[in-house]
Amino acid sequence: MPKFTVEDLKSIKAGHADRLAFKDKIYLLICGGTGCHATGSLKVKDALLSELAAKQLQDKVTVVETGCNGFCAMGPLMVVHPGDVFYQKIALDDIPRIVQEHLIDGKIVEKLLYKDPSTKKPIAVQTDIPFFAHQMPRALRNKGLIDPESIEDYIARDGYLGAARALLEMNAEQIVQEMIKSGMRGRGGAGFPTGVKWDFARKSEGDIKYVLCNADEGDPGAFMDRSILEADPHAVLEGMIIAAKAIDARKGYIYARTEYPLAITRLQIAIARAKENGLLGQDILGSGFDFDIEIYQGAGAFVCGEETALMRSIEGRRGMPRPRPPFPAHKGLWEKPTILNNVETLCNVPQIMLHGGDWYASVGTATSKGTKVFAMSGDVNNIGLVEVPMGTPLRTLIYDIGGGIPKKRKFKAVQLGGPSGGCIPEQHLDTPVDYEEISKVGAIMGSGGVIVMDENTCMVDMARFFMDFIQEESCGKCTPCREGTRRLLQLLEKISQGRGEPGDIETMEALSHTIRETALCGLGQTGPNPVLSTLRYFRDEFEAHIYEKRCPAKRCVDLLEFEIDPELCTKCGLCAKACPVDAIVWQKKEVARIEKDKCIKCLTCYDKCKFGAIM
């Protein structure tokens, strides 16, 4: 196949303009992300295709499977263009109706529209839905729009033009300067300035250098990188090409999580297409620059998100970190100068080359520029992927975009930054999204996981959950992390089982500070954060567990005895039917009663009862 030149890129872009402006036909954009696949979007696509064929509409209507749209909880999703009409939770029975009413009669199918959780009013146009309206897509600019398996779709959205500029018109120093000007900081969590990192590696001596992409998104509750890789894999490749030119590397690796099979498949397809068309390999775009990318699949170890551990893993060894310096920019993979960037960081790079660093820095705060992608989940109405300008208050994120807390429950805390992060309570919800401001209130920006928790969440239990994770994932190389996190976990288990003693809180605090100061790598140094941040804002809950042997949120089962309040019980029997061990005695028109020796404290009845009669 002939190699692309810049002229080819421009003519493909012009030739595809109608497709992306939705001028020539009707386009049905079906979400093909992991979430929608699980809810059946592939079956919906097949049913649509056969219904279109049956009605002989296949020439007028095109079905495109896009990457993750971001509004994952509403799947299967479809957006109809022109008109930008957003349909959610599409069942197979709905297909004939969509084809007849929308495509033939031109009427919107109201039943499948998004409904505002408070007013219950349907909203037809995607960009009018608050979840989308408050966003500013930059890293996610192509999500839900292009077919991730089509390189032409990507090129039509300015794809590879940033690389063309970097390869043909700029030298390494100019690329680095543009990155420094953009103010971009590493989106993996630590927030180190990307341009500065590249500059170190550029100045580092060596005939062989490497560019690595960290796609080992290990934080539980984070799925930004998965969505980007599924929706826009070429953007990551293009970012890597530009980084390679900046430091003069010839080889790149993408370290991808094995838990993300769809993302890996899409990446493989993208790499193959790019190679076929001369956008990877030798003499890219006739610039004389050679660069190749390989995917390296991880095998499940959280610590491999740490840069030195990740490099050990690519070398085929146990993924354990080593002390720095030497920094990877001097001695990284196979002891050669190496840079490692996160998926989200890299996919912003082509835009920065194309529009300039000043353009990128035009939004954001004094120290945090550009936009940030968050994966919002937990106890919030609108679960999904969100991209907002830096400086957006957390309250906007949770209430305007997220639509608030479901089931009329009260907000309790929001957890930012994964296991290394912290919980932020109600009084700090006006904190803007900014690296420094977020660390002031005891959390970290992290990679972008935002988990909202309502009043039914026990903070002692959450601290225990995160510590369990950290302890499990500790690689065991340094003592403070290996032994310290285990000891913290034991203390938290003791407290949540009702065996807590006076002094336990103080022991945990002292231990946490020691681990923080002495652990070898980022995992250990930030490991005690979940304990410290919950203690900072929810100390009273710890005290209730220790001194009163009581779990205020009713989640720590060892501290609970279930009883039914005869005043509140409506004698409906729902609890008795739900009980898996028949521990609830109930007859029609009688108040139910729990037999305590049979009860396994599974909380099923507690969650089932609509009248709050079980306590």
Binding site: G218, A301, G316, G319, P580, L603
Partner: protein
């Protein structure tokens, strides 16, 4: 071609051995390929019995300590046999907040099996896994190739029972 005699193992037949040899041959000269080799061999056999680890070590020209070290470090690798169906419960934060703990304890009580274990009849293996990144569907349970979203503790047994 691999020049070693392979050991006998009840869970590995001749066809599997020849695929294992292929995997080793393709990767022998690639530095750092041991994780790839272990993953592909595990895909063939279902798990990594110790005699297989030794065989891979000889084929890749690596000390057995190093092969065992890598296999025991990463969560993906298992050295014990699996059941016909693997029930993976996502232990990510979103799933935890939405009640995966209760789902797990329901399965444990019903089938008398602990996290990481296999039922005696080898029908199910139960495995708590790291975040699957499908937080929009929390709590998430994956059985075989099927992803089940919004799985609460009162629904889980009905779902699991569909797999014989």
């Amino acid at each position: 071609m691999s020049t070693f005699e392979h050991p006998e193992h009840p869970d590995i037949d001749e066809a599997m051995w020849s695929r294992i040899n292929q995997v080793i041959d393709t990767n022998r000269s690639v530095s750092g390929a041991i994780i790839t080799v272990l993953r592909e061999c595990q895909d063939v056999v279902g798990y990594l019995p110790v005699p297989l680890l030794d065989y891979i070590g000889r084929g890749m020209n690596l000390p057995r300590s190093e092969v065992y070290g890598v296999a025991s470090f990463y969560a993906l690798f298992s050295m014990t046999p699996k059941g016909r169906h693997t029930i993976k419960l996502c232990l990510g934060t979103a799933c935890y907040v939405k009640g995966i703990k209760e789902v797990m304890s329901r399965i444990e009580n019903k089938y008398h099996v602990k996290d990481g274990g296999t039922t005696e009849d080898r029908r199910f293996s139960v495995q708590g896994v790291r975040c699957l990144g499908a937080c929009g569907l929390a709590p998430v349970v994956v059985i075989g190739q099927d992803t089940h979203g919004d799985v609460t503790s009162d629904k889980i047994i009905d779902i699991v029972e569909r797999y014989e």
